[in-house]
């Protein structure tokens, strides 16, 4: 799966999140998850959706390190 395809899938999943503070189309690779509006609970909700789509869930020790959208995409690229 290409980076672009993963990015498109994530955009779709983001549109379903309730706590989004920003326009999903304006989110870039360098957007931080806290800028999107995620807190520690809603980031888990989002990650459950990501798991539902890609069938992978990062170790919490890795998830904590993911600050930007780019970090998640690189993780998914490596896993699928």
């Amino acid at each position: 799966m290409t980076k672009e395809a993963i990015t498109d899938e994530l955009r779709g999943l983001l549109r379903n999140q309730k706590q989004i503070k920003v326009d999903v189309d304006a989110i870039t690779l360098d957007t931080r998850f806290d800028q999107i509006g995620f807190d520690s609970l809603s980031i888990l909700d989002f990650m459950y959706d990501v798991e539902g789509r890609f069938d992978v869930f990062p170790e919490m020790s890795e998830l904590v390190k993911m600050e930007k959208v780019r970090d998640l995409i690189e993780y998914l690229e490596a896993q699928i």
Partner: protein, 354 residues
């Protein structure tokens, strides 16, 4: 102008998570670790005030345990961290701590807090709404009484009378900290008033703290106060010989501690209780990892050195180590030796100075 030390001082701070049930030895760790700190050149022991909850609940009034420290230690500073000002009459604060100052040969400092938990205010419900104003007025009243000045209030017959507290403390001036746990406004207020500050990282990043400390020091300088003030940072701390072993040792007790303190989080306890088992477990694991990696002083001496250096670079002068989050007594006391090694360490590479 005084220059900052190259490494922060280290202190101990307590917030024991203990059930209310009667049990022998509830204060054993407090006694043993504070003696260790006294004998090993730690700067201070901070005693909290907490009410009606297992989280910190063995410390309902810091002046009580301060008496124990005054008698059992010889040189370490004895600090209230914090006196929740609206829950006390300023006269009682001045009296109680003047006694401790005498008992300890002048080793008392006090951090004052505004208070935040509505249930704590069952002690003084009428002061909850105006608790911020009550706190600032109370601090000034305590400081005046500390200097031997009079306090004017209403007596039992409705008459205005002036009193002086007895005994007078040994120290001519009370060193005051303000507990700053929220936004930058409180930091600026503490700076403008010339107070020192005690704060915690909790869920904020070190960069956020750096900005708040800068705002504190700017407000302090603008108000014309001497010196940079002292910034104390509470960090949950356990230091061992092996980083991986430390992480596994603290994982379960720290997660229990986080679960118990859930109503102090951004996420309310009721909300946490409502979660599915998986989500609750994931939430606690996520919180643990975030604390462990970003906001705690846990690991080996070597791995903790960078955390100490980072908070020092952000402007922190004193690291107050919260040690009683749930590890067994013997393990904590063993960790004290490694904490002392870290205390005596220096930055591994000093930035070059032109």
């Amino acid at each position: 102008m005084s220059s900052r030390a190259t490494w922060p001082s280290f202190s101990l701070l307590y917030f024991a998570n203990a059930p209310a049930e009667a049990e022998i030895g509830k204060f054993d760790l407090f006694r043993a670790s504070s003696r260790f700190a006294d004998e090993h050149d730690f700067e201070a022991v901070w005693i909290p005030e907490r009410h009606f909850h297992a989280f910190g609940g063995i410390f309902p009034n810091p002046s009580l345990m301060a008496v124990v420290l005054a008698e059992s230690t010889r040189r370490i500073r004895i600090r209230a961290g914090s006196v929740v000002m609206p829950l006390h009459h300023p006269v009682r604060v001045a009296e109680e701590w003047a006694v401790v100052d005498n008992l300890s040969q002048g080793r008392v400092d006090i951090a004052f807090a505004v208070g935040w938990n509505p249930n704590d205010f069952i002690i003084a419900p009428e002061r909850y709404k105006g608790r911020h104003r009550v706190t600032m007025e109370g601090i000034e009243a305590v400081r005046r009484m500390w200097r031997g000045e009079t306090f004017e209030g209403e007596n039992g017959e409705g008459q205005r009378v002036k009193i002086k507290v007895h005994p007078l403390p040994l120290q001519p001036e009370l060193n005051v900290w303000l507990t700053c746990s929220g936004g930058v406004a409180r930091f600026r207020e503490a700076g403008a008033a010339g107070f020192n500050i005690i704060t915690a990282l909790l869920f904020q990043k070190i960069d956020d703290l750096r900005e708040k400390i800068a705002a504190y020091r700017e407000a302090r300088a603008q108000a014309g106060h001497d010196g940079p003030g002292q910034v104390t940072l509470m960090l949950h701390a356990y230091v061992g010989t092996d980083e991986a072993r430390v992480k596994e040792a603290v994982r379960a007790p720290f997660k229990r501690y986080l679960e118990s303190s859930a109503d102090l989080w951004q996420v309310g306890e009721a909300r946490l209780m409502d979660l599915s088992e998986r989500k609750k477990a994931d939430m606690l694991e996520f919180a643990f990892e975030r604390y462990y990696q970003q906001t705690a002083l846990m690991g080996s001496v070597e791995s903790c050195r960078s955390m100490v250096a980072a908070v020092h670079a952000a402007g922190v002068d004193e690291v107050a180590c919260l040690i009683d989050f749930g590890l067994p007594f013997d393990q904590i006391m063993e960790g004290m030796h490694h904490l002392d090694v870290l205390r005596r360490a220096q930055p591994s590479s000093q930035p070059s100075t032109p």
